[in-house]
């Protein structure tokens, strides 16, 4: 099993990495790049805590071979803030009390971001559908829904 070279853009920075063929994206992001905001809650694709964006689409890092991410652009929770300012979704999660233990939070926010990028004003049902693959054990989801919903009223032109 020899290591192979891949090129990935992670949070706008390009990396050339030698990875094992059996390496998952979770391992590459967490162990090689130190992006520990990518959480591993189940390692079998169920909990959604490891959700990252691959070319803007949410994927489970734990179910993705790093080889499959060769040539793609990955965004993790660490890449969401810009110029030292949190993304409006991050702000909204804080202000709505949508964060309790925080372990599911990075995945929740990444999947919400993908939804809002594609559909800036989703209905409640669309938000629930998008987040139906992310487990949270603390909140009962109500404040997470409120946090995402509130950001949909923000005018994207004005930004946040």
């Amino acid at each position: 099993m020899k290591k192979l070279l891949i090129t990935m853009t992670v949070n706008d920075e390009q990396f050339d990495l030698m990875v094992r063929p059996n390496e998952t994206l979770t391992e590459t992001l967490r162990e090689r790049l130190g992006l520990t905001g990518v959480k591993e809650g189940c390692a079998e694709g169920v909990c959604g805590a490891c959700a990252v964006l691959m070319d803007q689409h949410p994927v489970r890092a734990c179910l993705t071979l790093s080889m499959e991410a060769d040539g793609t652009s990955i965004t993790t929770i660490e890449g969401l803030a810009s110029d030292g300012k949190l993304h409006h979704l991050q702000e909204s999660f804080i202000n709505h009390g949508a964060v309790q233990c925080g372990f599911c939070t990075p995945g929740m926010i990444m999947v919400s971001k993908a939804l809002l990028d594609e559909k800036p004003s989703p209905t409640d049902d669309e938000i629930k559908e998008a987040l139906s693959g992310n487990l949270c054990r603390c909140t009962g989801y109500k404040k997470i829904l409120e946090a995402v919903r509130s950001t949909t009223q923000i005018d994207p032109k004005k930004g946040a």
């Binding site: 063929p21 079998e44 179910l63 993705t64 080889m67």
Partner: protein
């Protein structure tokens, strides 16, 4: 959980892929979206020496009308299929089935239609970690001599849990399979062998490349339903698909498929002739229910979170519901 060691190939042509598959045979597995495969690798239920990624095979991702069929590349992502105009126009039942798979953020972009059809049949005694299985001993599918779910079983009783399987069978899909000897066609029905150890009619050198669904000459009525304990991130407890066409007010063609019962989707063949010429009625729906219960009774075993008795009865309920829904829905 680490993955076992393997070599990795990402061929750029189908020929090349077949060549690699041919070279390594049964010890090579195909990686499409990976949402099923990676978990099985982590649990060591399969231990291939080679993984062949389809990521560079763009030709496998096409969805086109060809003559009287819609041809869906096996590598097309589930979201690509669900969003395709032709799929939406001709086969809304397939869109419906895809919406039930896992969850949008898990499968929709990574998962492929071919991958879903080839979902490894599931069993509570098989889909467990290596450590877990060590305590229980090997089963028929992991090299042992007995089935842990059904002592006297001669073959593995794992459950075909793919949402698209009953739908593709109900739509009379034809699968294109390419191997060393060239390309062959196989009906979706025949693709499923009914044996959990070797669930698919696929040789060690073969790859599923496309799914061809005949476009019906008349508007079709169809319905897909599944029962599950959660409305997402869940495999079906039982699922069913029904497709029918009418001539005037009478049934002209009818197909009912029940799945998530045993290793293969179950087509209720008898009904395909006995329902012809009849009009939808409560009596007819009940007949569908009874036929489904009879058909799955000898097939369902205790190998899922839901009990055998319950799954048998629910096969009847789902069969009745899809029949009623398909036969009373507006036609397309």
């Amino acid at each position: 959980m680490r993955l076992p060691a393997f070599d990795y190939y990402s061929p750029t042509s189908i020929e090349n892929a077949i060549q690699i598959k041919n070279e390594f045979g049964g010890s090579a597995v195909i990686l499409a979206g990976g949402t099923d495969l990676i978990v099985n690798l982590k649990n060591r239920v399969i231990a291939p020496s080679v993984v062949i990624s389809l990521k560079n095979l763009r030709e496998l991702r096409k969805i086109d009308l060809a003559g009287d069929s819609l041809v869906i590349g096996a590598g097309a992502s589930l979201s690509q299929v669900a969003c395709n105009e032709n799929v939406q126009r001709h086969f809304p039942i397939l869109v419906d089935a895809i919406k039930h798979i896992g969850a949008p953020s898990i499968q929709r972009h990574r998962g492929s239609i071919g991958g879903n059809l080839c979902l490894n049949p599931r069993c509570l005694f098989y889909n467990q970690s290596f450590f877990w299985r060590k305590g229980k001993g090997s089963c028929l599918r992991t090299g042992g001599k007995t089935c842990l779910a059904l002592e006297k079983a001669e073959s593995c009783q794992a459950i075909c849990s793919a949402d698209t399987a009953p739908v593709i069978v109900a739509l009379s899909g034809q699968l294109t399979i390419v191997g060393r000897a060239g390309s062959r066609s196989c009906s979706a029905q025949e693709f499923f062998t009914g044996k959990g150890e070797t669930p698919f009619n696929l040789g060690p050198d073969e790859i599923l490349t496309e799914i061809r669904i005949p476009i019906p000459w008349a508007p079709i009525s169809s319905s897909y339903k599944r029962l599950s304990y959660r409305s997402a991130i869940d495999f079906p407890v039982i699922n069913a698909a029904c497709v029918a066409t009418f001539e005037q007010e009478k049934i002209f063609r009818f197909r009912l498929v029940v799945s998530a019962a045993g290793p293969a989707p179950i087509t209720l063949k008898d009904l395909e002739s006995t329902f012809i010429g009849r009009e939808p009625s409560q009596e007819l729906f009940s007949e569908a229910e009874q036929a489904a219960v009879r058909a799955v009774e000898g097939i369902v075993v205790d190998n899922s979170i839901a009990s055998k008795q319950y799954r048998v009865k629910m096969a009847g309920v789902m069969a009745r519901r899809v029949t009623q829904s398909a036969l009373t829905a507006s036609r397309r």
